[in-house]
């Protein structure tokens, strides 16, 4: 406990009763699920602790590393700074959901394998979800733009050059598909 909590400018909460859990309805990787969560449960904790979807990683828990990146309604976000209760009704895609029903890897996953774009692999699910989100956003065309667009995903192993190659490979594959 900190010595100053009583008079902190934040309002000095003196909670009496614990607010209860409430149901949150989410479509996760295509499946509709309802989970009872407390207001302060983050989307990251919901995925990992309630649903056992541990592919999404907790690195910093403060928005600083990107390892918790998932897609919410198609957009990449940091699940560690997202309160699950606020996303009631949303569609969530995690690394587990990128793989096809038949188990086939998503082109971005395949490209990461092909290009050896990881070492320890801890940042990889976040990197892949982020890269998928980035391509959808449609602003990354050059190497510089890809690097900038991926700057929210840190890799402590320093696999950056291979990550860039993987994203370019997957990007080319997607463009070919959409052009065809």
């Amino acid at each position: 406990m900190n010595a100053f909590s009583e008079s902190d400018t934040a309002g000095g909460s003196t909670m009496t009763a614990l607010p209860g859990k409430s149901p949150v309805k989410l479509t996760i990787n295509g499946e509709s699920t309802t989970v009872e969560v407390a207001p302060w449960t983050t989307l990251l904790d919901l995925l990992r602790e309630y649903l056992d979807l541990t592919g999404t990683k907790k690195g910093c828990d403060h928005g600083q590393c990107g390892s918790c990146t998932v897609l919410v309604d198609g957009k990449r976000v940091n699940s560690c700074l997202t309160l699950a209760i606020m996303k009631d009704g949303s569609e969530i895609t995690t690394i587990e959901g990128l793989t096809g029903k038949d188990g086939a890897l998503h082109p971005m996953q395949q490209a990461f394998v092909d290009c050896d774009a990881f070492q320890c692999g801890y940042c990889t699910p976040g990197q892949i979800c982020s890269a998928v989100g980035m391509i959808k956003e449609g602003h990354a065309h050059s190497d510089d733009e890809i690097r900038e667009g991926m700057s929210g995903n840190l890799c402590r192993c320093g696999a950056y050059p291979h990550i860039l190659n993987a994203i370019k490979q997957a990007y080319a594959a997607t463009e070919k598909r959409t052009a065809a």
Partner: protein, 342 residues
């Protein structure tokens, strides 16, 4: 993180009502990128969190008098990539894109960006004293780790900076903040929105506790052709500004008709000095004329042990930003040109 209750506001009136009723112990939440972080650090300890994300405030539309109106809940990403923002207010696009990461910008909202709290290390550490977090407890930053702190408009109570990039461009563009409260709506000129620390560093802006930001109005701007946002930071991306400059020029040939310069990373609010900007009026856009302007902007600056470098760095960033602005607004795809290390 402390336990809190959760309410989802269905209308602006409901949001304002809930905030009034919570009597200082309520917090609005929008993107959550700052509030959730501060909840985890126990810096924010609300009894109630009021979700405003379902309010219809996410549009970007034409505003009065040829301007543009940015909804408070429009995300930073949607704002930066909006074609009209890019075309008419390029410095704003660049400033937003220079901040945080793509994921965070997808979450962060325009209203929340204005109200994000300082990144002073002591403010974040509840085991330490901090006049901003606990008035009267002291300011360990003044004689401590103050690399990220300010050099302009500081007080002997607090030397923290406002960390936003977006707000620096909004200050230069003389945006107007639209707010709604129990007494109805009002507008706050951007220069009067954020405040200096003085003796009350816990107060950071002129928004009343039960007011909500509904939109930000951008007035028509003659600066689109010569707009720049230069950000200097410890790494090339995904880091807060040490010093940043929004520089807007209205040129007639190589003569400056008017100039706007706003500084980030140096003060408790986006820093502007219209008297100093006026020194450029009628002058040619040359380095010789930019140097005294840069010097005048930092004339009253005071450096501390670990941040005195910001004064020289700031002056050079001003000159560079004005030189780049003279050359003309760069392509949005030039991710390095506008924001590279100086």
């Amino acid at each position: 993180m402390i336990n809190f209750s959760y309410t989802r506001a269905g209308s602006v009136a409901e949001a304002v009502g809930a905030k009034s009723k919570a009597n200082g112990a309520g917090r609005f939440i929008a993107g959550g990128t700052n509030l959730v972080d501060l909840l985890k650090e126990n810096v924010e300890r609300p009894r109630q969190v009021i979700d405003i994300t379902r309010l219809p405030l996410a549009t970007i539309e034409e505003g009065p008098n040829g301007g543009l109106r940015l909804g408070a809940l429009a995300t930073n990403a949607d704002t930066a990539y909006h074609p009209e923002v890019q075309r008419r207010y390029p410095a704003l696009s660049r400033a937003i894109l220079a901040g945080a990461s793509a994921q965070l910008r997808n979450m962060a909202t325009n209203g929340g960006n204005l109200l994000q709290r300082t990144r002073c290390y002591y403010f974040y550490d509840v085991a330490m004293a901090c006049n901003k977090r606990r008035p009267g407890s002291g300011c360990p930053a003044i004689s401590g780790q103050n690399r990220v702190c300010g050099v302009l408009g500081t007080s002997d109570q607090c030397i923290a900076t406002h960390p936003s990039d977006m707000c620096i461009a909004l200050a230069a563009l003389e945006a107007v903040v639209r707010v709604s409260g129990p007494q109805g709506e009002r507008t706050i000129p951007f220069a009067e929105f954020h405040t200096l620390p003085g003796d009350t560093p816990q107060i950071e802006n002129t928004l009343a506790p039960d007011e909500i930001i509904t939109a930000i109005d951008l007035p028509e701007s003659p600066y689109a052709e010569h707009s720049v946002y230069t950000k200097v930071r410890d790494r090339a991306s995904y880091a807060f500004a040490l010093v940043s400059v929004a520089a807007l020029l209205e040129l007639d040939g190589d003569m400056v008709k008017s100039a706007r310069i706003a500084l980030g990373g140096v003060a408790h609010k986006p820093w502007r000095s219209p008297e100093v900007e006026a020194l450029l009026t009628g002058k040619t856009a040359t380095k010789e004329n930019f140097l005294p302007v840069a010097a005048a902007l930092f004339h009253d600056a005071r450096g501390y042990e670990h941040n005195a470098f910001k004064i020289e760095l700031g002056k050079r960033a001003v000159v560079r930003a004005l030189q780049l602005a003279t050359k003309g607004t760069a392509s949005i795809r030039d991710v390095n040109g506008q924001t590279a290390d100086a």
